[in-house]
């Protein structure tokens, strides 16, 4: 308790340099994480979205950690400052935005957490974005390149994205969303036992997550009609648009199906076939 008080009082004092900021904040990570988690809990309570269960507790912890990570990086540029007050203002600023995070009661269960976690990660990580094609449709790098109609240089990046995701990205994302090995095994079991029902539920939930996180796309890339997609593929522009939007929109992947492969993809339009493992 005494240590806690000392840490808090140190955080209330002015820090003058970025190094000092790093030192003070790194010594107070547990205090700051609990603080951000507490604020998130209060926000959920005040907006009628709170339940006293482990899923909500984990959700609050996850977002507390997210805010703390941003604070650790951006706060360095705010010196001289009082870290505690800066941290409070940063969290308050996040919570003053409309829909600061993607909340849906079904997204707090293991399947929902998995989907919410990888879609949220896709917004900030190109590796996760490319891996989303794999987790949603079971595609490998070659199929992603064909579907999105990428050129040679971009293709190399897709292979690297896949490799990094397999090596570390997937595990890190699972750790961040707090999915245990038991929960992952349970998901795999459900998929084997009730494949159709499992994929149907996954499709319903991934639409909720995608609708929320698509707002984070560059300039809100909107959904396009098939002629518009065709023109984009034919002219060869909008490479980023294709990669980002098609990964995050189940409807548009069906609309644009076959345009990037010059007719080489003869299969039926893709349907969600969730893969839990990378």
């Amino acid at each position: 308790m005494a240590d806690h008080t000392v840490t808090v009082s140190r955080l209330e004092e002015v820090v003058s340099t970025a190094d000092e900021f790093d030192r003070v904040v790194s010594q107070a990570l547990p205090v700051l994480l609990d603080r951000a988690t507490g604020y998130t809990k209060r926000f959920l309570r005040e907006t009628g979205q709170w339940n006293d269960d482990i899923e909500h507790e984990k959700f609050a912890l996850r977002w507390g950690s997210e805010y703390l990570e941003r604070f650790m990086v951006c706060g360095r540029s705010e010196v001289p400052c009082r870290p505690l007050f800066l941290f409070d203002s940063l969290v308050a600023k996040q919570h003053s935005k409309p829909e600061p995070f993607c909340y849906h009661p079904d997204l707090l269960r293991p399947l929902g957490r998995f989907l919410d976690g990888i879609v949220a990660r896709a917004v900030v990580s190109r590796d996760a974005l490319i891996a989303l094609y794999h987790h949603s449709y079971g595609w490998g790098a070659g199929e992603v390149i064909a579907v999105t109609g990428l050129n040679g240089l971009e293709s190399q990046r897709i292979y690297k994205n896949f490799r990094r995701w397999r090596e570390s990205g997937w595990q890190r994302t699972m750790d961040e969303i707090g999915l245990t090995k038991t929960e992952l095994a349970e998901l795999a079991g459900q998929q084997q036992r009730h494949r159709q029902r499992f994929n149907g539920e996954a499709e319903r939930l991934i639409r909720v997550a995608q609708a929320h996180y698509r707002k984070s796309e560059p300039d809100h890339y909107p959904c396009l009609s098939r002629p518009q997609w065709r023109e984009m593929f034919a002219q060869g522009y909008g490479c980023d648009y294709r990669i980002w939007h098609l990964a995050l929109c189940l409807d548009c992947i069906q609309t644009a199906w076959g345009l990037g492969s010059n007719g080489s993809l003869t299969e039926e339009k893709p349907r969600l076939e969730l893969l839990v493992r990378p």
């Binding site: 912890l61 507390g64 990086v73 360095r76 990094r164 570390s168 560059p218």
Partner: protein
Amino acid sequence: MGYEEDLEAYRSQLLQSLSSRPNRSVSGVLDPIQVYVNERRVGELEGAGMDATLHAKSLDHIETIQLRTEDGTLLGGLVASEYGYRTSRIQLSSDAVELCVHNTAQGGSLSAVFIPKPSFWSRIWSRMGKTLTDVADRLAIRRPDAAIAHSMRTVAFTQALLAVMVVGLVLDRVATWMGPEQMMTTGIQPEALRTVSVTEMEKLEQQLGELARMQQKVGEALDFQQKGMAQLHLSMAKLSSSQESVASKVVMVKEEMEKPQENLEPETARTTPHHPANRGVVDQEQLEVAIRSLTEDNAKLSREVASLEEHNQTLAAKLHTASVNASKAVDPNPERLLATRGDVARTNQSLQVAESLQNSPMQPFLFWVTFSEGTSQESIDQWVHEKKGHKGVLNEGWQEVRIVPPAVPPDRFLEQIRGEKIVKAARIPE
């Protein structure tokens, strides 16, 4: 695993992940850096060892900038100011990204420049010129905008001179080693040549070491001088704040003196005649107190300026000595040494010119003077004109005079003044 343990394990995992965030060197050096504005991706910076830029405009105010690797690792970020410019240099292992955000009422714009790790030769060159660059930076800090161009020219000239000296020295050594006598005896006395070369090299190393020490000393001296200038700026800020407070008091007093006149004019008959007069007296006293404090501050500042000026001259002399010694250490050729001395003298001259430019907008030096009986007003005016000063108020025979701060300390200046024929007495305001 129970509820509490599960939660505690998750919390520990998050804390561990936060405290061991990988940097870009771990994540992949050549991958592009993803740039996010207000948590939306706006583009990427190529990080393949080339300069890359990204410009982004937003209709909304830019609040945050984030730089991430392709695997999503947060590398750096910036919280933009609500209006105006905000710049930041984010160090990524050995590379860096310079961010410049500009927020206006119409929206925000971002400019991001990727600066790769400098090449080997760039590092060598920058290390050679580091001390001189430091000098240039300090001079740029010390001087107002008008003098920056001049100081930069001086620094560029000095750098060019240093480069020429180094090249000349190398050529000289090469010529000595590869001269005709040496060429003739190369096959005969290789051992002797090796000994001579090693000796020469050691000597050269010693000289370079000495040069480095000299440069360090110069750097320290300039640091000290910079601190002095910072103190001066602080004093000037204090003075200007006190001036502002005096000005505001004067305005307040004027307003208050006008108010009673306006309010009381229609009802003069009903009010007591003593009240406005008393208030006027009180206000005048306040004004006098304020003026007194201002003159005190002014005198303090003048004293500080004089002491800093003296210190400046000492440092300039030290710089001169250090430069000459450094030149000696580098080049034993007396002809080149003479040329170097000339250049150093020119550098010092330009320094003095820049300092005089810097000194010109300083606060005036204020003193009081009484003149001998029978001195005509014309003589007084002429005397003030000779001093390039301005007359202030006349109080009980004491004439207030403001002049450009003298080059000598105030006490010495007053002695000089007192020695003049028409001056009876002179003093600095207490």
